[in-house]
């Protein structure tokens, strides 16, 4: 016995190896094709070697589980599972994968270095292994989508061909769309069960089936499975994906990817099966696909096209078997998965050989190949016999099981003959198209106008086919001995219950299924004999082009999307703003009117006095005036600054001294900034907006304003729930400051502040980029045609400002120092300093001020940021988290008892950044005029 830890590790190692090593062929490509191929083979073989030690336990019916937390809060974990079903698929994926690797080396032209091909193929294989080994359904979906993506790359491998690209795109669109539906279905299933782990889901079958969300969950999951397994009406992508290189078709489109859908059916059968809905949806879709695919296959002239529709038909058969919903039919479905993978992979490979040797796959031209390649022909004939269900071959056995199920099916007692008849018809069609494949390609006279002279393929290109055909025979003659245990283990996992009594054997006696088989064989050959009138009948039918229909649909969709984008994203800022505001109004209105508990709320009564009413009047006058007179820019600017002052007064009145100080200082900076902008902007009169636009804008403005006013009232009426108690209590003992706002900024929420001053620093950097080599021509005259004043810097102002500077700096130092305990702090002090400096520019001109200013704005910014971040980091050596502060009292002569906190250094950083940003932006704007010629500067 092995230790459990070992087997879990092995289980994790399988997908880990596959994913980890999938780039190996690409990396080793430069050492030649042989090394590249060897690398791909080694990766597959290693995965197989890792799987082998786990096989006995899985065959014995045990389930190996591995739990690795990834995103547990979302229910997404790296949980893996290996049971009989997973083992069956792993063996298919790795076994046929190995053969395909060998085959592809001979199939692909020798000019192809193979690295890219093998790497994508290995990625696909890894994703497939992930799908069949997932314990977590969300994880399964991740791998599921990875198979879609990697198969897109494989189908479009010959990307220079238009057909390849279209086929790949269609496959991706259909299977990817199905993946979305599957995601929704899995989410519903997880919602019902409360877990995404298969162990929990498989145990909750009864709960799921009685849940009211069962039907939508089932339909969504089936959409995913059907689109992947090419079930009608999502089948059309598979024939179009035949543009893939044949090894890809042999691997993806016969053995693995298309089987992912039926794998999902088998996986979730214990949960979703056993209901009428399941029977009708799965059985119905399978039945239609079975007959439809077989019929179309008969009429295809392209060998791969015939095989593709045959695959669709066989997938329909497997689906139908799961839909029949009896234990024996599920076993038959699993058995047919094995058999179909074996014979269809070999047939695709044989078709590839014919294509490779003849240069065409058109059965109207490729004839009489038996003479040119007798061995390949024999192999292909045996495999085709298996496809048709000829005795002694594996396809016969599962078809017999299907017939037996059809005969003994308990439902529709009244029309008990319907299902057997249907099954026989499907069998007849399979015989007919298999006969056509064999007879048209290998016999039927001489080849017509072939591009190449055909002969037997290289020895090693045929080897995979030989091995697969040998398996067809072995399984067909000795089923119990070869696949019996594997099938039992897989069935045990798929049924999650006791197995019914069944035995695999070639001879079950002379019974009704055998009779049906004989009937199908003979009438199938008969249908083929009647092919000429059938083809003539088919030729006069209206042609069906699912590809062009899909392309048209696709084009309409993209055109619609483009129109939508053109509507929303037309490059007009006005439209964006209008859409944004409109959307916010809608969202806010919806939230406002759908909110409950509005009636109980009552406004608290803070009495309004005359001063408040007066301030409001001033504010309204300024706001409305500025809006009404916005064409008169200077006046509008002055009115806006009046509004700013009113806001400042509001802050003072409503107990926010820090805000008032900040607002006042910012106001000065804003006005200077706006004046500078105004100086450069063209003063000409602008055309009036159209009436329609005015109405739209007014409507939006009124809705937005009214909405925010109502929301404010609503907010103020609601009971106040604050988290600030902590700050108020801890400000003095924890932060060492009495000014709670400042302590919050530099201490409690210092990290926020650090982020904010970083944003400010970015503005300064952006100003360098935006103003770099910017040349603007300041106007010589104002809007009324008057020349600008020639007296640039009035003496009075200039003389007044120079002594004011030290005074202002002293004030800012004072405001900075007291900030921790009284209104003030780094932001306010920084703004005061910058305003004082900017005033020097205004009063004395750039020529005077520039040399007296600190240079290297970028270095100053870095200094400020380093101060703030550095003092934050300084707490680490003391074993404290980032930005922990320390404080203590220091007695300074003259000034007295000063409380020093490490947060002060932080505040200093804020101060430096604010000053640098404001001064560099405003000075940068002011300097623009210096770049012009001397006459302009003089003016």
């Amino acid at each position: 016995m092995e230790l459990p830890i070992n087997s879990s590790l092995l289980l994790a190692a399988i997908p880990a190896t596959a994913f980890g090593a999938c780039l190996l062929p690409l990396l080793l490509q430069r050492f030649g094709r042989a090394v590249t191929g060897l690398a791909a083979t080694t990766v597959m073989a290693s995965c197989l070697a890792l799987l082998l030690p786990l096989t006995p336990a899985a065959l014995a019916g045990q389930t190996e589980l591995l739990h690795l937390a990834w995103l547990p809060t979302y229910g997404l974990d790296l949980n893996l599972r290996l049971d009989g079903l997973g083992l069956l698929f792993c063996l298919l994926i790795l076994g046929i994968g190995l053969l395909v690797v060998l085959y592809a080396a001979w199939y692909l032209p020798s000019s192809d270095p193979l690295g890219r091909f093998y790497s994508i193929l290995l990625l696909f294989m890894a994703a497939m292994l992930g799908v069949v080994l997932s314990e977590n359904l969300l994880l399964l979906l991740v791998f599921w989508e990875l198979t879609s993506l990697s198969s897109f790359l494989l189908v479009a491998y010959n990307s220079e061909k238009y057909e390849s690209r279209i086929g790949a795109r269609m496959a991706l669109a259909v299977t990817g769309g199905g993946g979305l539906a599957l995601l929704a279905g899995i989410l519903l299933l997880g919602h019902i069960v409360g877990s995404y782990d298969l162990s929990a889901i498989l145990a909750a079958g009864e709960r799921v089936r009685t849940h009211r969300l069962y039907a939508p969950a089932l339909m969504l999951i089936l959409l995913g499975a059907f689109s992947k397994s090419a079930q009608f009406p999502f089948h059309f992508w598979l024939p179009n994906a035949m543009t893939a290189p044949t090894p890809v078709s042999a691997y993806l489109h016969s053995a693995t990817m298309v089987k992912a859908g039926v794998f999902l059916l088998a996986r979730l059968y214990p949960v979703l099966g056993s209901s009428d809905l399941w029977f009708w949806l799965v059985g119905g879709s399978g039945a239609i696909t079975l007959v439809y695919g077989a019929t179309i296959a008969l009429f295809r002239h392209d060998i791969k096209g015939l095989l593709a529709y045959s695959t669709i038909s066989h997938l329909g058969l497997i689906t139908l078997l799961f839909g029949l919903d009896t234990p024996l039919s599920v076993i038959a479905g699993l058995f047919h998965i094995i058999n179909h993978a074996i014979f269809k992979a070999s047939l695709f490979m044989a078709a590839g050989v014919v294509d490779h040797e003849c240069g065409t796959r058109d059965m109207r031209r490729v004839n009489g190949m038996f003479r040119y390649m007798p061995i390949t022909a024999t192999l292909a004939i045996i495999a085709a016999g298996s496809m048709a269900g000829v005795p002694l071959l594996n396809g016969f056995l599962s078809k017999e099981m299907f017939f037996a199920e059809a005969v003994s099916y308990p439902q529709f007692a009244a029309i008990g003959w319907a299902l057997p008849l249907f099954a026989t018809i499907a069998g007849m069609l399979a015989v007919a198209y298999s006969s056509r494949f064999v007879h048209d390609v290998f016999f039927n006279g001489e080849p017509i106008d072939l591009p190449r002279q055909p002969h037997e393929p290289p020895r090693w290109m045929r080897a995979p086919i030989e091995l697969l055909v040998l398996l067809c025979l072995l399984v067909g003659i000795l089923p119990a001995w070869t696949v019996g245990r594997l099938l039992e283990a897989a069935a045990g996992a798929a049924l999650q219950g006791p197995l019914p009594d069944f035995h695999l054997a070639l001879w079950h006696g002379f019974n009704q299924p055998l009779l049906m088989s004989l009937l199908a064989l003979t009438s199938g050959v008969l249908i083929y004999a009647l092919r000429r009138p059938l083809f003539a009948w088919q030729d006069q039918l209206p042609p069906m082009h699912p590809r062009t229909a899909f392309e048209r649909f696709y084009r309409t969709l993209t055109k619609g999307a483009r129109r939508m984008i053109a509507l929303l994203d037309n490059g007009s800022l006005q439209r964006y703003c209008a859409l944004l505001v409109g959307f916010v109004v809608l969202l806010g209105g919806w939230a406002f009117f759908s909110a409950s508990g509005r009636s109980e709320a009552r406004l608290p009564g803070v009495a309004a006095d005359e001063a408040a009413v007066g301030a409001l009047l001033v504010l309204l006058l300024g706001t409305l005036g500025a809006t009404a007179l916005y064409r008169n820019r200077l006046l509008a600017l002055i009115l806006v600054s009046v509004v700013g002052l009113a806001v400042t007064l509001t802050f003072i009145r409503l107990s926010a001294p820090d805000l008032a100080l900040t607002q006042l200082a910012v106001e000065m900076g804003t006005i200077v900034l706006m004046l500078l902008v105004l100086y450069y902007l063209p003063a000409r009169n602008t055309p009036a907006s159209s009436a329609r636009r005015l109405i739209r804008d007014l409507l939006l403005a009124l809705l937005a304003g009214g909405g925010l006013a109502l929301t404010t009232l609503q907010m103020l009426a609601a009971p106040s729930a604050t988290i600030s108690e902590f700050y108020l209590q801890q400000s003095l003992p924890g932060g060492g400051g009495a000014n709670v706002v400042n302590v919050i900024l530099v201490d409690f929420r210092g990290f926020d502040t650090l982020g904010e001053i970083t944003v400010l620093a970015m503005v300064a950097l952006a100003s360098h980029a935006l103003l770099d080599r910017l040349i603007l021509h300041p106007p010589q005259r104002d809007a009324d045609g008057r020349a600008w004043a020639s007296e640039a810097h009035p003496l009075f102002l200039s003389m007044l400002m120079r002594p004011l500077l030290p005074l202002a700096l002293t004030v800012s130092v004072y405001v900075f120092l007291r900030g921790h305990n009284a209104p003030g702090g780094g932001f306010v002090a920084g703004l005061i300093t910058s305003v004082a400096l900017v005033l020097q520019y205004l009063a004395n001109g750039i020529a005077y001020a520039q040399p007296r200013m600190p240079r290297h704005a970028v270095r100053l910014l870095a200094l400020g940021l380093c101060l703030t971040a550095g003092i934050g980091l300084a707490s680490w050596p003391f074993g404290r988290p980032f930005l922990t502060s320390a404080h203590g009292h220091v007695h300074l002569p003259l000034i007295g008892d000063v409380e020093l906190a490490s947060a002060m250094v932080f505040d200093l950083g804020v101060y430096v950044v604010v000053v640098t940003v404001v001064v560099s932006v405003l000075a940068g704007l002011g300097q623009l005029s210096l770049r012009l010629d001397a006459p302009h500067e003089e003016a």
Binding site: L659, P682, L708, L716, A717, V759, S767, L770
Partner: protein
């Protein structure tokens, strides 16, 4: 007092939105300033309106909520940064396109 503040916020928002939807850069700058006032006042009001209760320990028996004030304080400074950035953008657009239309295109 609450009703007065709500009116002020509403009018500031309405005028700000109207100006932001204009086609020239300067009214947009003014509109943004007005809208900043409105939003700052709104955020500030979320701490409720209190007279003579500054959030200074010892200055009032029950100080007002300091947290919205801290948020608004940085918002004011950042708002200035944004206005400055937009102003520079407007000037750059003026230099590149020769006009002050917000889309750098003349309206028909």
């Amino acid at each position: 007092m609450e009703a007065l503040l709500a009116t002020a916020i509403g009018v500031l928002t309405a005028c700000g939105v109207f100006l932001i939807l204009r086609a020239r850069t300067f009214p947009v700058l003014l509109g943004l300033t007005l809208l900043s006032y409105a939003v700052n006042l709104f955020l500030f009001a979320s701490g409720r309106l209190r007279l003579d209760a500054p959030p200074l320990i010892g200055a009032a028996a029950s100080p007002t909520d300091p947290l919205p004030q801290a948020l608004v304080l940085t918002a004011i400074v950042i708002g200035f940064g944004m206005t400055a950035y937009l102003a520079m953008l407007a000037l750059r657009a003026l230099a590149e396109s020769g006009g002050d239309h917000v889309d750098a295109a003349e309206e028909p």
